[in-house]
Symmetry: C2
Subunit: 515 residues, 2 copies
Amino acid sequence: MKKLMITIALLYAGLFAFPQRKMPQVRPNIIVFLVDDMGIMDTSLPFCKRIMPLNKRYHTPNMEQMAKEGMKFVNAYAQPVCTPTRVSFITGMNASRTHVTNWTSPQKNNNTDPEDDQFLPLNWNINGLSPDTATEHTVNATPFPQLLRDAGYYTIHIGKAHWGPMGSPGANPYNLGFMVNVAGHSAGHPQSYLSEQKYGNMPGKAQAQAVPDLEEYYNTNTFLTEALTLEAKKAIGVPIERKEPFYLNIAHYAVHVPIMADKRFVQKYYDAGLDSTEAKYASLIEGMDKSLGDIMDFLRAKKVDKNTIIIFMSDNGGLDAHLRGGKINTHNSPFRSGKGSVYEGGVHEPMIVKWPATVPANSVNNNPVIIDDFFPTILEIAGIKTSKKIQKLDGISLLPTLKNPAVKIDDRPLIFHYPNNWNATPDEAALGLNYYSAIRFGNWKLVYPLRTKKLELYDLSKDIGEEHNLDLSNPVETKKLAALLGNTLRERNAQMPIEKSTGKAVPYPDKTFIK
Amino acid sequence: MKKLMITIALLYAGLFAFPQRKMPQVRPNIIVFLVDDMGIMDTSLPFCKRIMPLNKRYHTPNMEQMAKEGMKFVNAYAQPVCTPTRVSFITGMNASRTHVTNWTSPQKNNNTDPEDDQFLPLNWNINGLSPDTATEHTVNATPFPQLLRDAGYYTIHIGKAHWGPMGSPGANPYNLGFMVNVAGHSAGHPQSYLSEQKYGNMPGKAQAQAVPDLEEYYNTNTFLTEALTLEAKKAIGVPIERKEPFYLNIAHYAVHVPIMADKRFVQKYYDAGLDSTEAKYASLIEGMDKSLGDIMDFLRAKKVDKNTIIIFMSDNGGLDAHLRGGKINTHNSPFRSGKGSVYEGGVHEPMIVKWPATVPANSVNNNPVIIDDFFPTILEIAGIKTSKKIQKLDGISLLPTLKNPAVKIDDRPLIFHYPNNWNATPDEAALGLNYYSAIRFGNWKLVYPLRTKKLELYDLSKDIGEEHNLDLSNPVETKKLAALLGNTLRERNAQMPIEKSTGKAVPYPDKTFIK
């Protein structure tokens, strides 16, 4: 009977000379709302067990609302800088496997690692992600938007891309499976957030970071975050109208430098006594939060909110004081350090998921999860088998625990691998920047500083600030985690920096473990 | 039974949790291959009854092949400059109705008409086409790609757009119904054709004409025409893979100025004795022709050539000597004048249609047709009713005569209306540039010079060069056409220039007709 009905259905479809493609939409729409350089404390929504001072500084009512209607992940992770996270996100591979371990330059074949006294330049994949093998120094993988597109999803990218440099296919989201691309290219930050400065496209002044595609908003007093939001709403209006499932990647340039005032929100932060930089930063955050609210309102108005899953995420920790002002180790407090570090302030992210039909409202998920998980999760949600991908995944699908936060994900190694130099600063040691690997397994975290090779062990269940190194008091756990980190890095053929003095690579942590 | 089968089909579709959207593709794919500033003689394919000297100069084997496999239109028309044609093309309205009668500046609210001694600046729609009413000085219309997109077509724009200035929605093809846009924006020509010059995107040197989106090709020795062709093939690969019908607008920047050498082809034109400008121009043409061949080859390789209609067209006549070198009135010979003129050299276009299943091979169509006809033709081909459009159409569907060139289109007024100033040159009078209206009706053509108001009548069946003014010898026909032109302009509320001396508008031609 089933076969007969297929036959009848196909026959019938063939009767139309020009069949309209209207099918009942049952596949969910999927939105990833990705913020740039947003720290886990850059919100009024608490991700710690209690409300912290920074939660009182910032105003993100829409994140609060989203968490009420959905699930808050309090142990979600990314890599310490943006391109590695973005490549992991779209490929499902960990940075230790992609060898895209630092941010990519807008220029091809340009290693962004500053010169270092101790280490030779690392031969990492400086040209980022590529959908084919034609470009040197790239990781070759099948991005999930391509699988969504192939399966009939209307795929949209809005905002920051930063998957590869100019002159490589990875520069253009179109080559990564997106049908629509607005404002995404090779650059990792905007030249300007201001429409009065044409987002950087000023004659004679435009740099590689001038934001493309937004000519419509020049001189309209439209902050970049708002322009991208308007474009996102416009873009998803099309598949909604066509009754096609869509995937929207809205990847804000906010809250990355240049820290500029979003005039709609900045005054109250001045009034609250914040200094210029911090008031502007807070306005960038609130502008981003307003965008989230606008998207949720739009879905509701179009009556597709119930069948749309939104995943809120940031790509790395918040910028700490050495590039922002104030005291170091404070901007992601109580978490340690910030962007560029494998300590919690650099990798622990604000993550929220809303999906009315499936994800319990006002729920909290304690499972440790990582950006690598987005690929298999999104494809499972879309009902797409991943057999067509060419890469080996490191992530796992979160769908079971999205349905029920009590479903525990088995302990597995979450790897942070940064054999690179992000930012040469006298505060490097104090902040734990540059040349680090780390692993989280259960509540344990092992940090492996590649310069000193002195392992550090933390119990995150008691010490989210990573202040109490248990290395000496718990050598058994340290050894166990060193072996797990070492074996995992080995299996992924992870790159390690080469010592200038010896010409030898830094050993994997289990080989340096001599206690 | 029909009703039951619908029910069964719908029920069955509902049984899938995640139905794949695969339907038999019966709607044809549609490609408009639009060349910029290409004159009707800029090809080795003769559009006159015999082979002319210029047909021997140029090499366009793929146009020849396309004509062998399809239908050549020998009386196809557009407007004298690009934006008016492009707006008519996408809206189905004649330029006399859109009031977009000159090319639009990349800058908003910028009237591109040079100052004139005789006429006040015309209050034309200097901001081009807009899909909504929010922008001043625009024509508000429903572009056909939007209707195609709404009906399930995968709509793609590649190349020159030029429908509106920066700061208006018309600048972005995405706002006009295209899902994919590569390289289309507010500018009417490329800053450079060369990848070594990043198509104009050189730091500190980029102007409004720098071509967007092609970062992947920088410094790859890829001529702009080739880059656009590669992007077009990539873009249509997606709907072909998804088994969705597509509309591709491939609108080459070639052969518009800056006249630059396409190195792949230029040498043989030097060898043939052409001067530098003409050799480069010929190479631009042959590069464009190669693109046409590559697209046709790609369709064949993907096995969709039989179900794909390709329409080849140019947007106005070829540039004449005053902006190119050589003697005036020669570059479109035997046709008179060129771009900017309502004489045949400015508006008579090379048009070819190929659609294996429907359009007879190696056929010639003598019907006078005009760019306004593209809108209803394309929608009828796609099986889409145009009831959702907001504008009144001037074009008619060519589908009946595409199926059979013997089907004659009833005589109707084809209007060329240019109450504007394109190019202040001492040769204005000799070339018939600036401030002209004209009508073709059957084989008759009436030219109305708005400066002198001295009507000219030509019999195109005997005088394609418009050399013999029959105004005096045939006052009856002159009067009849003046009335038809006048009434048509009146019905469309066409704008006429205002005399500085009197403050009065130039009268419609039937009111000036005093014989």
